[in-house]
Subunit: 75 residues, 4 copies
């Protein structure tokens, strides 16, 4: 059955405090080369109707007012 | 700067109630072809040291006891 | 050490698709009396400086543009 | 309508990397008195059947194998 991946991120102009926390924790752990971290949600669906996934994403997975999403057909 | 994506999912044998809720909500919205939904976390990092990202993922992004993660270099 | 609880919710006017998914899944499981579900984040901090927690919440736990937070001192 | 709050936390023995990231980010922001941070999920339900919420929590809100939950009737 086709597997579909939906990644949901806050829109770029919206501050992501969870990502900020990770970014700020890194130097103290000895990780120095990271300049940006943003956190989102990741969904994996098995769907024999992958063309429905865009509607599903816009309805139940993301809030399009504050979030962007991308869809990838994996196999 | 290279962009690295880390996706974190509960291990397959661990029940994911958030994914179950989405799966069970779909028929009532007219979406009938989905047989599985699992929800995880998605991180996007900009790092000039992408080789560090595996350690970062295992330390701050995922709990390897209950979660698996995958790393992709995007550009 | 004092324990401080911070609950973070999307502002009421912002649609919460995760809560919607749960709400819509309930009737199919035989749960009929729920009219609203909203999902947020919950943090438990041990802090000998509980007065700092409001600043911490506004900086690292919530995005005040899209989220509200409440703070409770538990013990 | 009664409002019910469900808080879901990873069991205490399970490492919480999101909480760790916040904890480790705090000193660099000038917050020095916090010794522990753990992150969970927070749900607010309006339900005229609050006695159903325990079953709902165990089915759709938490995975009881790895998470604990608490239920509070707010009003």
């Amino acid at each position: 059955m086709p597997k579909v991946v939906v990644d949901v991120m806050l829109k770029p102009e919206i501050l992501d405090p969870q990502g900020q926390a990770i970014l700020r924790a890194l130097p103290g752990l000895g990780f120095d080369g990271v300049t940006s971290v943003r956190q989102g949600k990741h969904f994996e669906l098995e769907a024999d109707t992958p063309e429905q996934v865009e509607s599903i994403a816009a309805t139940l997975l993301a809030n399009p007012v504050i979030e962007d999403f991308t869809i990838r057909l994996v196999d």
